[in-house]
């Protein structure tokens, strides 16, 4: 057949293949896996070359990030000021900013002296003492706007220049504008009206970059650094412009990942949306896969906008918000299902998860479709009964493991209280009931890093080190499966990627250590050498 066969010996190959969980050699031909086993199993296919650069590495299937957003690539055009360490698309490691002074210092450092200064990912929940205010940000600049967006997605800080430009004063009596003891606005505010005011006053605009080529390149690089070979953009606008950008950028051999955009379904009528997705499916290729639909139903738990059932939020906050009237969500789901499409549904709170399970049950009774793989995304508060229904209905869940670490303490103290916080992200229950499951980062909400995500599901530790829900821990092997084959299943790509077996695409994550051998507490720290995508070797650093 004229194509070269390359056999890669490795310290260990973890296949996710039940018939042969581990191996030492993998043969690649024409971008696909010819076979996996020991050398003798593979030499019978004819001439081959041995490439031993992975001889002391551990090979896993390339990681599949089943819930991320290319917005990650937009935000990196601004300055990261989060509490936790994070790596940018250029590989630069940004240490977490652990105090207000560190945030201010970093913004001063990056300031070019012109235009607005924008920081993102600010996360003061672990700071002790006072909150950041306009005086802090005035140390960055007084003649220009300074904006800091919080990681929670609901708050922002601005400097005096922004307040002055917008005429926000002690007399401003608007929801979401925080005032100090002196009655003056502190510069901290919440809600979208404040965000609009700050963007308008400063001239900053993160939106016109979404879906653009540079954001895609940044997103691809961030994924590559984490060992990801397939990633979703799980709420894609899919306008003619952003679709054209995807078609230009992703298929290029130098672009490091496969991208699965899920059509964001709340902009147009479901009939128009279904027709658009179906027309785009003809444009799918090996690296770019159209066909998924994403519906938003509620908000976020940490923002108190998720819809949750009785007894509601632990701190007494009112119940959250729907993204659209429930009957419209129901109708839209029916239209997409009837069009033969697979629907992913953002449901953070259990009321939202229940509404969509009710909907799926009614729809399937009317129009059964085997192997639909409709998937609940986040599904953070599923109890056993909801999971049993998911199993009975053939619904998959992709749970937000990273929340245990990033917001676990808040869930314990404020949003859900102990009992419900301990059983968030119920991986062990899903496993025991046989519900197909995956786990995700929801980047940019938290960083793309599947080994970290797996660590969260295995260790279930909050940022303060407390274990949340000992009984819902799963094994390293199960977690690794969730970040590969488990996620691939939810994308209907498990016949192509997610395991190392004959016929599948040669997508590998190349690790420096064996995740099954290191102590599970160190899973997140395993260095990544690089990836292989469709047989193309993609080291992180020049060899």
């Amino acid at each position: 057949m004229g194509e070269t066969t390359v056999i890669y010996p490795a310290r260990k190959i973890i296949t996710m293949l039940a018939a042969r969980p581990q191996a030492t050699h993998v043969a690649v031909r024409g971008g696909r896996i010819l076979g996996v086993g020991d050398l003798d199993d593979l030499t019978g296919w004819g001439d081959y070359e041995i490439d031993d650069r992975f001889a002391d590495k551990v090979i896993l299937p390339g990681f599949v990030e089943g819930h991320s957003h290319t917005l990650e690539g937009v935000l990196w055009q601004y300055t990261y000021v989060g509490f936790f360490d994070r790596t940018g698309p250029d590989g630069h490691h940004w240490p977490g900013a652990k105090s207000i002074d560190e945030v201010v210092a970093r913004l001063r450092e990056v300031d070019t002296g012109s235009g607005p200064v924008v920081g993102w990912g600010f996360d003061p929940i672990y700071f002790t003492g006072r909150r950041m205010n306009k005086d802090d940000l005035d140390k960055v600049a007084t003649d220009r706007s300074v904006l800091v967006l919080h990681a929670s997605g609901h708050l922002l800080n601005v400097n005096s220049a922004v307040l002055n430009a917008a005429g926000v004063t002690a007399d401003t009596d608007v929801h979401g504008v925080f005032k100090g003891p002196d009655g003056e606005p502190t510069g901290e505010m919440q809600e979208f009206a404040a965000l609009y005011m700050a963007f308008e006053a400063s001239g900053a605009n993160i939106y016109n970059q979404i879906g653009g080529e540079s954001s895609l390149h940044n997103f691809g690089r961030v994924c590559h650094l984490a060992g990801v070979t397939t990633a979703t953009d799980l709420y894609a606008r899919l306008t003619p412009e952003t679709t054209a950008a995807l078609l230009r950028v992703v298929p290029d051999p130098s672009f490091p990942i496969r991208v699965v955009p899920a059509y964001g379904a709340l902009a147009d009528t479901p009939e128009n949306g279904a027709a658009l997705v179906k027309s785009l499916m003809d444009k799918s290729s090996a690296k770019l896969r159209f066909g998924l639909v994403k519906m938003m139903t509620d908000g976020s738990i940490q923002g108190f906008t998720a819809r949750i059932k009785w007894p509601g939020y632990y701190n007494g906050a009112p119940n959250g918000l729907w993204n659209a009237p429930p009957e419209e969500l129901v109708r839209a789901f029916n239209v997409f299902h009837d069009a033969g499409l697979q629907v992913h549904m953002h449901t953070n709170g259990n009321e939202a998860s229940e509404l969509m399970l009710d909907t799926i049950a009614d729809t399937l009774a009317r129009n059964p479709r085997p192997d639909h793989r409709h998937t609940l995304q986040h599904a953070q508060m599923m109890d056993e009964a909801l999971l049993r229904r998911a199993k009975a209905l053939g619904v998959a869940v992709n749970m937000f493991a990273n929340h245990l670490y990033y917001w676990g303490e808040q869930h314990l103290a404020l949003t859900l209280g102990p009992e419900r916080a301990h059983r968030m992200e119920p991986f062990a229950t899903a496993q025991r009931l046989g519900v197909p499951y995956a786990m995700h980062s929801d980047a940019p909400v938290t960083p793309v890093a599947p080994l970290f995500t797996a660590w969260c599901a295995v260790e279930r530790r909050t940022a303060e080190g407390r274990v949340l829900g000992e009984a819902e821990k799963i094994s390293v092997a199960d977690a690794l499966r969730a970040i590969t084959l488990g996620a691939a299943y939810t994308l209907k790509m498990d016949h192509e990627v997610g395991s190392i077996e004959t016929g599948k695409r040669a997508d590998f994550a190349i690790l420096e250590q064996d995740p099954l051998a290191v102590p599970s507490a160190e899973l997140k720290d395993i260095p990544i050498w690089g990836t292989v995508l469709g047989g193309i070797v993609q080291p992180l650093h020049a060899e």
Binding site: H69, E200, L266, A267, M296, L321, W322, A324, E328
Partner: protein, 318 residues
């Protein structure tokens, strides 16, 4: 700094008549260059062509957003609308059926480039009590009542007097609205809707809270309007004669007219000047639509109808 753009919020649950009212507002000639921001997720709810015919712009809002939080599509869309040259003369946001109109109104309370007009909340008189008790949306339906400056108690024809009185009292007890209308098919005096909110929330700045203050955009009062539709074609010579002979009380006319032998044309009339140019692609053929604006002294509707039909031939549209 340019004058702030009046910003109107239209809220209420599904089925309360938001679309009907929206289309009524759009059909009124005072609408002018209004940017109308709507949710099309459930169904297409306004006639974009009608907006365009009035010189306005239709903007599609999206509730879901990438950060799994809610509402930043309005941030994005509003930035686009306000960056356009010229800025729209007025912005009307249709809040989704499950949005809190108060949070949408906050945009104008905070931004110096916007002036908050009244928050209009439509209520389905027949359904509202059940809606407010609904386990999924009851909390939001109540927030919507609370946020209203103007309550439009719609579908009054569907309930008897006793129920209407009782429901009205029940709703008003849950709202701080300054004006309540009972209406059928959302037929309410538009001028009362487009006034600065009594609850703008800002210290007097560029806004004037005086309700009687004359604002250049509040022209719903002073202008009379008349509209006309036909599926028959116009005769060019007779139409030109009509346009040349209109009294000065007719200030503006806009629309699409199907001319015999020529096809659909866009008509624009301002004062004494008018143009007829081929209508752009995408405007549905087969029908002529005309909106006429004038001072209260403009000929009566029946007279206008007689004048205009005089320019129509007996032939159906092409």
């Amino acid at each position: 700094m340019p004058a702030p753009v009046p910003f109107t919020v239209l809220g209420g649950y599904l089925g309360a008549g938001k679309t009907t009212l929206l289309n009524r507002i759009l059909a009124a000639p005072g609408a002018g260059d209004m940017a109308v921001m709507v949710n099309d997720f459930g169904r297409l709810n306004i006639d974009a062509e009608l907006v365009a015919a009035q010189g306005g712009r239709a903007v599609r809002l999206e509730n879901g957003c990438v950060c799994c939080t809610i509402g930043d599509s309005l941030v994005e869309s509003l930035m686009q609308v306000m960056a356009a040259t010229p800025r729209p003369a007025r912005i009307l946001v249709e809040a989704s059926g499950v949005a809190d109109p108060a949070r949408v109104a906050d945009f104008a309370r905070l931004s110096p480039s916007l002036r908050l007009d009244r928050v209009i909340v439509l209520v389905d008189l027949e359904q509202i009590r059940a809606r407010c008790a609904d386990r999924h949306v009851g909390d939001m339906a109540l927030k919507q009542l609370a946020a209203a400056d103007v309550l439009v108690l719609n579908k009054a024809d569907l309930v008897d007097d006793a129920a209407r009185t009782e429901t009205r009292a029940w709703v008003e007890g849950r709202s701080a609205a300054v004006v309540t209308f009972e209406a059928t098919r959302a037929d309410v005096p538009l001028a009362a809707l487009f006034a600065p909110s009594e609850r703008a929330g800002q210290a007097p700045r560029d806004h004037d809270h005086n309700r009687n203050h004359d604002h250049p955009h509040d022209d719903f009062d002073a202008v009379r309007t008349w509209s006309f539709e036909t599926r028959r074609v116009f005769d060019r010579a007779r139409l030109e004669a009509l346009l040349d002979g209109l009294p000065p009380a007719v200030l503006r006319a806009k629309g699409f007219v199907d001319l015999a032998g020529e096809g659909l044309m866009t008509l624009q009339l301002t004062g004494r000047r008018w143009t007829l140019e081929p209508a752009p692609d995408g405007v549905p053929r087969g029908q002529s639509r005309l909106v006429v604006l004038g001072t209260p002294g403009m000929p009566a509707d029946a007279d206008l109808r007689r004048l205009v039909t005089g320019a129509v031939t007996g032939s159906p549209a092409t």
